[in-house]
């Protein structure tokens, strides 16, 4: 049961570090991109939206393979020496979840931002106040996008297995450990880690729920 002790804690910490960093980077890229994609009008916009939606459902192993080809010794970014490192896993995760966050924010913005901007215009808000209001009014959807991205990143196996290599004490995270333990037939430990993963997912939902704006809508017309 050694793996359940010190090494397990290290694996959980590494998983959280990787997932949080990838989610943060994806939010920084995906949220403005989603808002911009809705606001901007340019030829080929539909194609860009279609590509983004396709990437939302991209198979992780394909993303992993692409990142692997880029980071491999002879690849365009091979000189960085990032293959089978924490950085490689974060890059793969970021590529994987940025379209998800961008897509959710774009859809929310497409539905509401026009009305919010029209309202801001009628109130005399300047451009910065207007865009800030759009973000504030869409904050629930943005929280949802971030949580969805976090969940996807944390449950990911294929891409990080390819680019991280599941190296002990180095790039081994919870999902890859579960896969390894199952292969070894150590089902009890695999189940234990699975439960820990589920508890973390639950905690994330609880925290997100506490942070999100309390919305009480009613369709009743009193």
């Amino acid at each position: 049961m050694n793996i359940v002790e010190q090494e397990t804690i290290g694996i959980i910490v590494l998983t959280l570090q990787m997932t949080l960093l990838a989610t943060a980077m994806s939010c920084v890229i995906g949220i403005p991109l989603g808002l911009l994609l809705d606001k901007a009008s340019f030829p080929g916009k539909r194609v860009v939206v279609l590509i983004n939606r396709t990437l939302m459902a991209a198979p992780p192993v394909v993303i992993g393979l692409v990142v692997y080809l880029i980071l491999m010794r002879n690849g365009p970014l091979g000189f960085l020496g990032w293959l089978f490192t924490f950085e490689a896993m974060v890059i793969a995760q970021t590529i994987l979840i940025t379209p998800i966050i961008c897509g959710i924010v774009y859809t929310a913005s497409e539905r509401s931002a026009k009305n919010i901007r029209a309202f801001a215009t009628t109130m005399g808000a300047n451009k910065i106040q207007t865009e800030w209001l759009v973000i504030k009014e869409l904050s629930n959807e943005i929280y949802f996008a971030a949580v969805a991205g976090f969940g996807r990143a944390m449950s990911e196996v294929g891409a990080i297995m390819i680019v991280g290599g599941n190296i002990r004490y180095h790039t081994r995270v919870m999902t890859t450990t579960i896969a390894l333990l199952r292969n070894r037939g150590e089902i009890n430990q695999a189940v234990f880690l699975g439960i820990v993963l589920m508890i973390i997912a639950l905690l994330v939902q609880v925290i997100a729920g506490a942070l999100r704006r309390r919305e009480r809508r009613t369709d009743e017309n009193f």
Partner: protein, 248 residues
């Protein structure tokens, strides 16, 4: 405010206004409208443009372009062609109230004070209480605004426009969900508000008659008749306005 040669083209509809001018100040009031519409009565002498008007109405059947025209004048949408001259008015002097107003995902009080917040003006609690009381929302000020009824939402949108005292207010069916008592109250308030010019869109001819001093009638994207409210509504000139008045 003056708009000239405005066109807004949609797939099945084109708004086309040759000119429309609403300038209201203590010294000078100009109301003007030109139209390419055949049989336009703007040039006819039965509708003089020499009064001191403060509250205007735009009437017309659904889909005739009233809201589109208002949105262009309020700066919410841009025309496909033509010019809008605000004659010194800025975005902060103009507002528009919609039939289904946008309310922030926030409390009633924060919705009400939002225009002050973005102008960095400290809310005057006495004035806020008066406005909330007028709208019957004083006990609901800490409630979530989206839980209000349709009429209450319209009243909140109305007092939110009053609070920052814009010079030009467009109201697009802003009374449609209100009870009669509230409509009367707001009509009186509108008439009392000095230094503010109002442009109202409404299908409620009782409101148009009671409040508006001057009215524009629109048909298929063009202004086809205009003049002092009583004259236009009592002696309609065009066939379209006569038909419209039969059904409202």
């Amino acid at each position: 405010m003056k708009i000239s040669n405005i066109k807004k083209e949609y797939e099945k509809f084109t708004l086309s206004i040759k000119s429309l001018e609403i300038t209201n100040s203590a010294q000078n009031t100009i109301v003007g409208a030109e139209s390419n519409y055949p049989g336009y009565v703007g040039a006819a002498s039965n509708c003089p443009d020499n009064g001191q008007y403060k509250i205007y109405g735009i009437i017309g059947a659904n889909g005739c372009g009233k809201t589109t025209l208002m949105k262009i004048m309020a700066g919410i949408i841009s025309p496909s062609s033509g010019t809008v001259d605000y004659e010194g008015l800025t975005g902060r002097d103009i507002t528009m109230i919609f039939r289904k107003p946008y309310l922030l995902h926030d409390t009633v009080i924060n919705n009400l004070t939002y225009p002050l917040k973005i102008r960095k003006i400290k809310p005057n609690s006495e004035e806020i209480d008066i406005l909330l009381s007028m709208a019957g929302l004083q006990d609901l000020k800490n409630e979530y605004a989206l839980t209000l009824s349709g009429g209450e939402q319209q009243k909140l949108a109305m007092i939110r426009a009053f609070i920052f005292k814009p010079k030009l207010i467009f109201v697009d069916e802003g009374f449609s969900n209100m009870d009669i008592e509230s409509v009367n109250l707001f009509e009186q308030y509108i008439q009392k508000m000095s230094n503010t010019t109002w442009v109202l869109v409404s299908h409620q001819m009782s409101t148009i008659r009671r409040v508006c001093e001057y009215v524009f009638f629109m048909h298929k994207g063009e202004i086809t008749e205009k003049g002092e409210t009583k004259k236009v509504l009592d002696t309609p000139y065009t066939k379209e306005l006569k038909e419209y008045l039969q059904y409202v």
